[in-house]
């Protein structure tokens, strides 16, 4: 029994999922329409999709002991580009626009990755720089202009609300991204190498792993997913102003940390990061419903991040003690 409980606690994904479910249930008790209404149900599923996509990319980068702070700017830039394409070239197929956004994001991610790999400066500093540069490019391009829902084709805007079997299309997109990246990280050699690199970069180099290639790959993935998230942003909100995606990179990092992705790399899963993202978004929506003021919402998010880190530390100490006892009994056997 005790084992079952500690196993449960050790599965961070499950623990965070339980917190998420509890939050949803408690809010639904207060206001049924939070879940049990057409709008409530759709919002519950669709609102997290953008942050989930970002958090998945962020988790892949953090696993390699790096971080990508530029995703908010990439998201803003690609969201704006999405709108511009529809304005400049009406009739462009939606899929082409989506691919263009992903492509731009990937290129911006490649720039991050190459600088990090070549300059050997912590990614925190590099992507803090590109955060401002990409945002600056965006501001220069957009000026005081903004994209309005009326600029966008109806088909595209419909994506934001469309459902298949009462599941919103955007949620399905996020889920597919999650499954694909989750599969890559858990089941392929390349994915496992990313964990190895994050676990001990020097050992990875000595071992002969393609460290540079994998780290650049992680940044390209993060950038591409930020590009996709930009399209999701445009489809969901219809308007893109110069403030689009401002500060969302920190939410993505927070989601990954809450979901059990170790900030020093090497452990955690994108599943945890995705559930963490869903929890962050849902709690932000739930707090006003249960009558907690805006002021406290950010404090709650901060509290979640700190709780996650404290939990990590406690579990690590517990595990160390268990391992040392195990070592003892093994030598006695």
């Amino acid at each position: 029994m005790k084992n079952a409980v500690s196993d449960l606690l050790r599965s961070r994904e499950l623990a965070v999922a339980l917190v998420l479910i509890a939050a949803v249930v408690l809010t639904a008790l207060k206001s049924e329409s939070f879940v049990f209404s057409a709008d409530g149900w759709r919002n519950l599923l669709v609102t997290p999709s953008m942050l989930v996509i970002l958090a998945v990319g962020q988790a892949a980068v953090i696993v390699t002991r790096n971080v990508d702070l530029s995703v908010g700017s990439v998201l803003g830039l690609t969201a704006y580009m999405t709108g511009r394409i529809f304005i400049e070239a009406p009739g462009t197929p939606i899929i082409a626009v989506v691919l263009a956004a992903i492509g731009l994001g990937a290129v911006l991610g490649l720039v991050n990755g190459v600088i990090v790999a070549v300059a050997k400066v912590p990614a925190l500093v590099i992507t803090l720089g590109t955060l401002y540069i990409y945002r600056g490019v965006f501001l220069t391009w957009a000026g005081s202009d903004r994209i309005n829902a009326s600029d966008l084709p109806d088909d595209f805007l419909a994506l934001g609300n469309k459902q298949i079997a009462s599941i919103p299309v955007l949620s399905i997109v996020a889920l597919l991204v999650l499954i694909a990246v989750g599969y890559y990280l858990y089941s392929t050699r390349g994915g496992r190498e990313m964990y190895a690199i994050g676990s001990d970069p020097d050992a990875a180099r000595l071992y002969g792993l393609p460290v540079t290639r994998r780290v650049i790959g992680a940044f390209v993935l993060s950038g591409a997913l930020a590009g996709l998230a930009g399209v999701v942003y445009a489809a969901r909100y219809g308007t893109v102003s110069s403030g689009a995606g401002l500060g969302i990179e920190l939410e993505a990092v927070g989601a990954a940390v809450i979901g059990g992705v170790a900030i020093f790399g090497g452990s955690g899963t994108v599943w945890g990061a995705a559930i963490g993202a869903a929890l962050l978004v849902t709690i932000n929506r739930a707090l006003p419903v249960v009558g907690i003021s805006d002021f406290w919402q950010r404090a709650v998010v901060g509290g979640l991040i700190l709780a996650a880190i404290v939990l990590d530390r406690v579990l690590a100490l517990h595990r160390e003690r268990r391992l040392s006892i195990e070592r003892d009994t093994r030598s006695l056997a």
Partner: protein, 506 residues
């Protein structure tokens, strides 16, 4: 396996390599034949590790001949060397702590299922087979974090063996292993030799070299000195070639007057680490603690010093009770502790040598709460000179020093506190012959000055040579307390493996 070519597997000749202004290797050379185990010896700083790293593709040579299996090669990465058929066990284990043991073994070459998916079941199975071959029990599913150094070393060995390489280079693979594990490793090494592979074995332990190798190459000061068949040479000759001079006795413990009891440890217990440990150490006495790696020797030392806690029992120093888990109180009472892994626990490797030496006496040095570099340097100077720390400048970072000088720096740091008890854990691990003798002479001197010394060592000859009394630890218990004149290798090994035999019968 390979074609029956009479060509040597590895040829290095006149290889040189410099790092900045320092020449690590001026004319290194070695010729390793297939089906042979070749010892590579030399003092620390002689260039062995640099040569290994050139072969492994970590460093690129500046010039000289490098032939592998008859072809001229020039590896620019470890991946290339590995692909060519070279496996290397590095001195320090290089594992991925967050990943499972099996993943550590097969990273980058995991068995695959259809769809290029990593086949974890097959990976665990193959790991078990490897461990069986090495005769060890390790769970391939557990993560590598928290494994003992010996277990980590075993994983490195398993990894290298599983590479199926034509050349296997082992840089001090036995440093952390116990007797049984060393025997197993040697059996595997001989098996590989009989399959026609070439092995290079680096060790500071002559018993091992003579037991395992058939040829020996000596390096000195970055240059090739000689290659001989093991059968045609002896320890004295090799040592003379290594140092370019005759070395005096290796373990020069001189008798010192034994005084009053300094340390009294009574019935110390710690769940999962050690049980019912009692012993005394008197002034001027060197007490050796022997036992297999993982027997609990370091854990006892850490608990006595106060780094770790314990469940029951007491520690007295000079009649004064030492509080549990309070290293600062222990230092104040007159204890000094040089830990096993000096890089992790005893040395601020990025800090300057002076800062390292002065770090424990800072409080005494600080003036009006401020610590000046000058006062640090002055205090450090004295101790560095007394211990012959070889370095150009005391404000140089400690990480640039050789292992022997690092160890002396750690010792200097503690001696500056003027302790009445010195605990040293593996004082000469990874240190070359010349420095080893210096460390031994130093410990002997300190005992002569009336300091009580507890010395933990895995090297039996060191314990037997240095200690006035040998305590043997086996699986967390003290199984023997042997006086110097009765201490024989057989007596110590019997006590160190006692429980193994009784348990095996049950």
């Amino acid at each position: 396996m390979s074609e029956p070519a009479r060509e040597p597997v590895l040829v290095l000749d006149e290889v040189h390599k410099s790092f900045g202004a320092t020449a690590a290797l001026t004319s290194g050379g070695i010729t390793v034949e297939a089906g042979s185990i070749h010892a590579l010896v030399g003092e620390n700083g002689a260039g062995k590790s640099t040569m290994v790293k050139i072969v492994a593709g970590v460093h690129r040579r500046d010039g000289g001949v490098f032939r592998f299996q008859g072809d001229d090669v020039d590896f620019s990465s470890t991946a290339e060397a590995k692909a060519a058929g070279i496996a290397v066990i590095y001195q320090e284990p290089t594992l991925f702590p967050d990943l499972s043991v099996a993943e550590n073994l097969f990273m980058g070459r995991q068995p695959l299922k259809p769809g290029r998916r990593v086949d974890r079941a097959a990976m665990y199975e193959q790991s078990e087979v490897l461990f069986q071959r090495l005769g060890v029990h390790l769970d391939p599913r557990r993560i590598a974090r928290g494994l003992s150094i010996a277990d980590q070393q075993i994983i490195e060995i398993a990894k290298a063996i599983s590479l199926d390489a034509a050349l296997l280079v082992m840089d001090e693979p036995t440093a952390a292993l116990s007797g049984v594990e060393v025997d197993r490793l040697f059996a595997v090494a001989r098996g590989l030799r009989d399959e026609g592979r070439a092995l290079v074995f680096i060790s500071h332990r002559f018993e091992e070299i003579f037991a395992l190798c058939d040829t020996v190459t000596v390096l000195r000061d970055g240059a090739y000195v000689a290659t001989q068949a093991i059968a045609d040479t002896n320890r004295g000759e090799i040592v003379a070639q290594m140092v370019g001079r005759e070395v005096g006795e290796l373990f020069p413990k001189t008798p010192a007057p034994i005084g009053d009891t300094v340390l009294r440890v009574e019935r110390l217990n710690s769940t999962g680490a050690f049980h019912d440990v009692s012993f005394e150490v008197r002034a001027g006495e060197i007490v050796g603690i022997a036992g297999l790696v993982g027997a609990g020797r370091s854990e006892i030392a850490r608990a006595v010093f106060g780094v770790d806690g314990y469940d029951s029992g007491s520690v007295h120093l000079n009649g004064e009770a030492i509080p549990m888990r309070d290293p600062r109180a222990s230092i104040k009472a007159g204890m000094a502790f040089v830990p096993e892994d000096r890089r992790l626990q005893g040395l601020i490797t990025d800090g300057s040598i002076a800062r390292n030496i002065a770090s424990v006496i800072r409080r005494g040095l600080a003036k009006v709460g401020f610590l000046t570099s000058r006062s640090e340097l002055r205090a450090a100077d004295e101790w560095a000179a007394r211990l012959h720390v070889k370095t150009h400048a005391l404000d140089m970072p400690a990480t640039t020093m050789s292992g022997g000088n690092q160890q002396k720096t750690v010792l200097a740091k503690w001696l500056a506190t003027e302790p009445s008890l010195l605990i040293v854990d593996e004082p000469t691990r990874g240190i070359d012959v010349g420095t080893k003798a210096e460390v031994h002479r130093l410990l002997s001197d300190l005992a002569g000055q009336g300091i009580a010394i507890v010395m933990i060592s895995s090297e039996l000859s060191e314990v037997l040579g240095m200690a006035d009394r040998v305590l043997v630890v086996c699986e967390g218990r003290i199984t023997a307390d042997i006086d110097r004149d009765q201490a024989t290798p057989e007596a110590v090994m019997r006590a160190a493996t006692q429980l193994h035999h009784t348990e095996a019968g049950a």
